[in-house]
Each structure stands twice: as C-alpha cells, then as structure tokens.
C-alpha cells in the first residue's frame, strides 16, 4: 500500500508539472494579455503600459516567467491576482463556498435520483419507465444547461415568481432560508445533466451484475427479491460508481461555468471565466493547478476506496 501511494504521488507530481507547462504556454499564447484591457484607455500611454509590464514582470522571457512561477509554487506561494491584488489561494477560498453549496446540493440530488432511476431502469428493463428514463436522459444530455437555466428563470421566477431570478442570497438578508430559496432552481437545473449521467451509468452497472451467478445463487437460496437487490445487486453495482464519484470531485469544487453565470452565482466556475477574460494569469494558473490536484486526488481516493471495499482488488 505504501509503495503504491509513493508511486502514485511521484506520477502525480510529474503529471502536475506537465499540466502546468501546457497551461502556462497556452495561456500566454492567447493574444492580448493582461494589459490589453488598459491599452484601450485613451489616457494610457505606451510608456504607461511598458512600465506596468515591467512592474508585473510580463516583459521577461516566458521560460523565466514559468520557472519563477514554479519555484514560488513549490514554496507554497500561489501568486497574487492581477485583478484585485489578493493572494490566489485567498481568491479561490472566497469562491469555494458558493461552489460547494451549489455543486454539493446538485450532486446530492443527482446521485440520489440518478441511482434510483438507474436501478429501477435495470430491474424493469424495457418497461415504459426504462424507455422514458432513457429518452429523458438523452434530452437532458443534449440540451445545453444555460437553456434550461434561462427557461427556468423565465418560467419559475419571472412568470410564476416562485423562486428568485438568480444570486446566492438577497443583499441584506443572509438567513439560511434565503440561501435555500435561491439554491432551488440552480441546483435542480445543474442536477438535470448529472441525473442523466448517473442514471445511465447506474443502469448499465446494475445490468452487468444482475445476471451474475452469485445473484442467481442468492435467489436460489430463497432470498426475497428485495434482499437480493439491496444486498447483492446494488452493493456490487455501486462499485464502479465510486470511481465515477472520484472523478466528479474536481467538478464539484471546480464549479459550473455556465450555470454560475446564468444564475449570477459567485462560484469557482465564474471566477475561472472572469479570470480568463481579464488574462489574470496567476488566478487562471492557480485554478488550473487546483483542479488538476483535485483530479489526481479524486482518482487516488476512488482507487483506495474501491480497493478497501472490493476484496478482489489489491493495490500495489
């Protein structure tokens, strides 16, 4: 187990460096750069822009800039945002709560409903329920989330007035109820796609298990169908789901780009879009590393959990 962990750590470190090099290069290849937004200001002279480039270290050769960034990163210094002068880790931390709240609740909804639909679809294969679930999943997967979001806002908030048209809370009212009220629509919209994904995976995982010999044995032993399903089928079908859940970790913390914009949700997804728009290199790099680390971590955790719960698998 220890050897396995050390190996994985080692591989992950190399992977992260490669990711950072690619990210840094691509980021700097985008024309414009952090000073482009100031270049259009009629009062900003070329001398002003040159001075800023010098002060921000942007006039150094790219490899030098990268190595500087990497060395600082290794010492735990994630840099400082160009936009608001706040340390990158603090910027991330400021947006993390909003994203956790939204993604956490939508993922919880998605897993609960998705798992249930998946199992029922598998046990009642080719039933009307199964067909409608399949079609529903296809529709949910093929229609973009922002469309669901805008329609949701139009119907439930502008027309019916049941829920707010976005925002995380009403300014001046930060009660838990107010947060929950604002959470309803975006978390449902966001979970639509995830329900579809989870139900499809769960359905096929259940089908894989449902005709296995040990299930037949369980039935032959005279167990009730319910007991067979809960103890033998679902337990085993959930195993591949652990890996899926591990892979969801970065997206749970990384936020939803589109949904957060449509619902004016001040989370990580919008932070990424905004930072990209302003070429806020330190924050974009920070977010990239953050989600890369989460991806690595999510997979690692999933592997360990699978190995722990599935006696057939041993890591080493």
């Amino acid at each position: 187990m220890l050897v396995f962990l050390l190996n994985r750590l080692w591989q992950s470190a190399i992977l992260l460096v490669i990711v950072s090099i690619i990210g840094f290069t691509v980021l700097n290849m985008i024309p414009g750069g952090p000073l482009a937004q100031y270049a259009l200001d009629p009062g900003m002279t070329q001398a002003d822009l040159d001075r800023l480039a010098e002060q921000m270290g942007l006039n150094r050769p790219l490899p030098v800039q990268y190595l500087d960034w990497l060395l600082r990163m290794l010492q735990g210094d994630w840099g400082t945002s160009f936009r608001d002068g706040v340390p990158v880790l603090q910027v991330i931390q400021r947006h993390l709560f909003a994203t956790l709240l939204l993604m956490g609740s939508s993922t919880a909804i998605a897993i609960a409903i998705g798992t249930w639909i998946g199992i029922r679809g598998a046990t009642h294969r080719y039933s009307i329920f199964d067909y409608s679930a399949t079609i529903g999943a296809m529709v949910a997967l093929s229609i973009p989330t922002f469309w669901f979001g805008l329609v949701g806002i139009y119907v439930f908030s502008l027309r019916l007035g049941w829920v707010p048209a976005g925002n995380m809370y009403t300014i001046g009212n930060e009660s838990v109820l107010n947060y929950l009220h604002h959470l309803i629509l975006p978390s449902i919209v966001l979970s639509l796609v995830n329900v579809a994904v989870w139900s499809r995976y769960m359905r096929s995982a259940t089908l894989d298990v449902i005709n296995q010999d040990f299930v037949k044995t369980a039935r032959a032993k005279g167990l009730t169908e319910r007991r067979v399903l809960m103890k033998h089928v679902v337990g085993n079908a959930l195993l591949p789901m652990i890996t899926l859940a591990g892979m969801q970790l970065p997206s749970i913390l990384g936020g939803a780009l589109v949904t957060e914009t449509v619902f004016t949700w001040p989370g990580m997804g919008r932070l990424f879009l905004d930072s990209l728009g302003y070429s806020d290199y330190p924050v974009v790099m920070g977010l990239l590393m953050f989600s890369a680390i989460l991806t690595v971590l999510g997979n690692l955790i999933a592997d360990i959990v699978v190995a722990t719960v599935d006696p057939r698998i041993r890591v080493g």
């Binding site: 024309p31 009629p42 070329q46 002003d48 001075r51 608001d84 909003a98 805008l150 300014i171 001040p266």
Partner: protein
C-alpha cells in the same frame, strides 16, 4: 427585494433631463408622462439602499492603481479629488476651495506655478483630518516607479511639490499643460497616514478596504458578487441620502436586464440595457428609462498612408456613399445620433455647425470621376495603376458592426470601390495591428478625449504616430501642420475662450480632412426604478454613480 413604492413625484432636475432627452431622442419614459415634476425632497438622515447592477466586476479599490471604467463607480463614491467636473463641463472645487486660474492667481502667467487652497473641514473615514500632506503624498505616489499606477500623463510634469500649510499646496510644472486641471478631477486623493505605513503600496491592506473622504465608507465585499458601501455621516459635501450603496456584479447583460425587470437591481450600470431590449424596457412599469449620449464615436477609421486613402476626394466619395441614416434605422434600432466630429456630444467643446453628411451616390461617383479614378473592366475604379480597393476590419463576433460592414460594402460597390471584409478577434485587432497602423480601415468606436479635457494631441498630432516613431494614438497617421500648431497652443493655453476657438477650428479641419469617417454616437439606455431621485448623467465622467451622494428614494 420588493419593489419600492411608486411615486408620482419626480424632481425638477430629472424632469428637465427628460425633456432634454426628449429633444435629442424624441422619447419620454411613458410612465412619467404628464406627471407633476415637483415635491420630492431628500430625507433628513440616510435611509434605504440602492443596488447598482454592473456587468463587469469592480475589483480595484485603490483609485490610483491601474483600473478600468467599472472601478470608477466605487472610487467616485468613496473618494474625492481636488476638483469635480459637472455635466456641463464646468470644473468646480471639491477638496479645494477654488479652482486655480490665471485670473485668480492660482496659476502663474507662464502656466508653470500652481497654487491650490484646500478645505479645512474634511476628515478621512477613520477620523483623521485631511491636509495638504495627503495631496502631496498622492501626487508623488502616482509617479513612484514601483507603484502600478493608472494614467501618469500630466503628473510626470509636476515638480517641487510644496506643502505651504495644511490647507495650501504649490507645485511647478515642467511645461505649461492646461489639460492637467481636468486630469485632477479624476485624481482621487488617498490618505498619507494610512498608506505611508504600508511596505508595498501595490499589495497594501488599504487596497482591499480603502479609506477615503467621500460620501460613502467601505462596507464589505463578497468577491465575484457585490461590494457594499455605507453612508458617511460626516461627509463634508451634500448627502449622502441613502444608507447603503451596493454594486452588484451580474456577468451577463441579458441576466442583468432580467434582474432589473425582476426588481433585484434598482439602477442599471454598465452595460445598461442593450438596444434590442429598448422597446420592451420603456413599457416596464415603475421604471425610468432614459437615453444618454455615449462619449465614444463610431467611425470608419482610415489609414491615410495607404495609397487609396491619400487623396481627399476618395475619402469624401466614400463618406458620401454611406447611408448613415439607414444604417442607424435598420441596424441600430434608430437609437444613435449621427455626428460629424470626434468631440463627444456631452463635451462643452463640441462643434455643432460642421458640414452635414449627405448620402449621395451620384455625388460620390462625380468626386471620383473628377479625381481621375476610372472604372476598369471589373467595374472597380483605378488610377495610375492603383485599384480603388481596400480591406475593412473590425472585431470578429460584433454582429452589428459586421452587418454595417456588409451594408457599406454594397454601397461602395455601386460607386466602383471594392471593400473586402477581414475581421479579427478583439485581442488581435487591437494589438499591433491597430497601434502600429497595419490596417487599411477599421470600424471602431473611439473615445477621443482623455477625461473631460478637449485636448486631442494624442489622437491628431503628427508626433503621435507610433508607426512613424511617435508616441500616442494617431493610428490613422493623420498629419496637418495647422492642427499640430493649434493642438500645441491648446494644451498650453489656460484661457477658456481661446481654447474654445482652438478646438472648434481643430474640429473643422478634421471634418474637412476626414482622417476617419464619422458615423454616429451611440445613446446608452439608462434605467432605474421610479422613486430614485438625483440621478444625473455626466458624460465628462466614466461612471453613472459619479454623484451617488445625491441619490435618494422619494417617499
């Protein structure tokens, strides 16, 4: 938040403003028509909250650091400059007690020695008194080579700053530079006693929780969501009348408008309402919707070093072949106003009697015929082996401009001119392609002035051509000796009347020379909830919240 109670009363000022808008745009917010324009008065103590919706997020709270327009809203509400520029262009005292001039002795006859007298009743938000030391500190910080400051033009000319007394400061200018007065209306004074103690002004704690002298104090910020300011009861000027001023960031313009409709936002800031929503917006109940002139001018901007554009007749012919009115009507919902000059319509220096553009294809053909441009076999004119063909570019993805291009392209074909459209992404077109004059022609909206001053040396002086080794933004490579002369005089003259004459003549010369084809100046669609009083457009600033101190809810 629930809608505020509707009121039938609007202030005299907003009524006059509306009439003004009706004059230029021919439109009145229907819900205000025919209602009495008197009666609303500000409350005795600050009450209520106004939420301003913005489609960009203010992130810079140190008013001296490099910033974009949207940051100005917070700065104007929290800080004061020595002077303030009013909507009519008049510069009035703010932290100073009078505006220095050669007449009152504040500026020496040679324009080099400046003396500014300051108020003695101003305190910082932390209670410390404001003095001339703060002004000195501010002016020195701007040119500190380590500091990531915003515009330094003008400030770099300042020498020998001397604090004569806590309420008086003097300095010497390296050369006479009259626009500096208006630059000082955008130079917010920061507290020496707070920033002096900081090791690095770029990362100072002050930048995240600033202390100013303004009508509002720093409240709190939820990054990516909103900034909340609270009333400063000790403000030395008029107001504030609302307890809380909130800048709410809503990243998408459609969502911004939706939240204005739903009532979450009380007043719309940048980017306001998009033209396609205007027709619906004016029908919204309990909302004031108003057209206000934007300071940028939409142009077809030409590179005068290109052989085809060297001849004035060609530029005139192309201008005559553009059907401005139809473009405005058909593409821009009839909202913009056709213009003939670069000077913003809101500037006190705008020339309103320039020759009016006339769409006339026959006249265009005649001009080209007379100049010796003869149609070739392909129908495109040529002269001395030069085909009358050029490329036009603009930001790709800007659909309105793309349609405008196709419109112009068709008209030009009718007079034997070939215009090819090659659009580029924003980051590419406004990089070297633009600054180094690598284009033939571009469709671009430009704000020609730096702040409220009419000086345009940066745009039209022959020494401002980067492609020819100069410094500035004269990207059309325009050269006119008389314009150079006038611009030099204009930026060193403090006599307002003389300056007026100078900039009128500059506008006449530029209109005649057509280094760009002026199309129109846009109207931005401003809107707020009925009941908010005191909102006034000031085209000499970059923000709608320049006078938020005077806003209040009518009760």
């Amino acid at each position: 938040m629930a809608d505020r109670k509707t009121t039938n009363k609007i202030s005299r000022r907003s009524a006059l403003g509306l009439m003004g808008a009706a004059g230029t745009a021919g439109f009145l917010a229907p819900n205000l028509l025919g209602k009495p324009a008197f009666g609303a008065t500000p409350p005795d103590a600050p009450t209520g909250r106004i939420i301003v919706g913005l489609s960009q997020e203010p992130t810079n709270f140190n008013p001296l650091m490099v910033k974009i327009e949207v940051d100005d809203g917070v700065h104007f509400s929290m800080f004061d400059a020595l002077f303030r520029v009013m909507p009519d262009g008049e510069i009035v005292p703010n932290l100073a007690v009078e505006v220095p001039s050669q007449a009152n002795g504040g500026i020496s006859e040679d324009g080099l020695e400046w003396r500014v007298k300051l108020r003695d009743d101003v305190t910082w938000h932390d209670g410390a008194p404001f003095t001339a030391e703060d002004v000195k500190f501010t002016l020195e910080l701007i040119v500190n080579p380590e500091f990531r400051s915003w515009r330094t033009a003008g400030h770099t000319l300042v020498r020998e700053i001397t604090v004569v007394s806590p309420t008086e400061i003097t300095w010497r200018m390296e050369e006479p530079f009259s626009p500096y007065l208006s630059f000082l209306t955008e130079t917010f004074i920061v507290p020496k006693h707070v920033l002096e103690a900081e090791a690095d002004p770029n990362t100072a704690a002050f930048n995240q929780a600033p202390i100013g002298t303004g009508a509002f104090k720093w409240g709190n910020r939820t990054a990516g969501d909103h900034i909340s300011l609270t009333a400063n009861p000790d403000y030395f000027g008029e107001g504030p009348y609302v307890e809380q001023l909130v800048f709410k960031y809503i990243p998408d313009v459609t969502v911004l408008y939706t939240q204005f409709k739903s009532g979450d936002v009380d007043l719309l800031g940048r980017m306001y309402i998009t033209p396609d929503n205007y027709a619906e917006a004016v029908t919204l109940p309990n909302r004031v919707v108003k057209l206000e002139p934007a300071s940028s001018v939409e142009t077809i901007y030409l590179n005068l070093e290109r052989p085809v554009f060297k001849e004035l007749a060609v530029r005139e012919a192309i201008y005559a072949a553009i059907d401005k009115e139809l473009i405005i009507e058909a593409l821009y919902y009839g909202l913009p106003e056709p213009v003939e000059t670069f000077m913003p319509r809101t500037s006190a220096y705008v020339h309103t009697d320039l020759p009016r553009h006339e769409f006339n294809l026959d006249r265009a053909r005649q001009l080209l015929d007379e100049a010796g441009w003869v149609p070739g076999a392909d129908g495109i004119r040529a002269k001395d082996g030069v085909r009358l063909a050029f490329v036009n570019s603009t930001t790709s993805g800007n659909h309105l401009r793309e349609q405008l291009q196709q419109f112009v392209q068709q008209s030009l074909r009718e007079i034997g001119v070939e215009m090819t459209i090659e659009n580029l992404p924003a980051a590419v077109i406004w990089g070297d392609f633009w600054t180094q004059s690598q284009f033939d022609s571009v469709v671009v909206g430009i704000t020609y002035l730096i702040g409220p001053d009419p000086d345009v040396t940066n745009r039209f002086h022959s020494s401002a051509i980067i492609a020819q080794g100069g410094r500035g933004s004269n990207n059309s490579q325009y050269k006119n000796a008389r314009v150079d002369e006038l611009l030099e005089e204009g930026s060193s003259t403090f006599d307002t009347e003389r300056r007026r004459e100078i900039y009128m003549e500059v506008q006449e010369l530029v209109r005649a020379d057509l280094p760009f084809l002026p199309l129109f100046s846009d109207n931005s669609i401003r809107a707020w909830k009925t009941g908010i009083e005191g909102v006034e457009h000031n085209g000499n600033t970059r923000t709608e919240t320049w006078n938020a101190a005077k806003w209040y809810w009518a009760t």
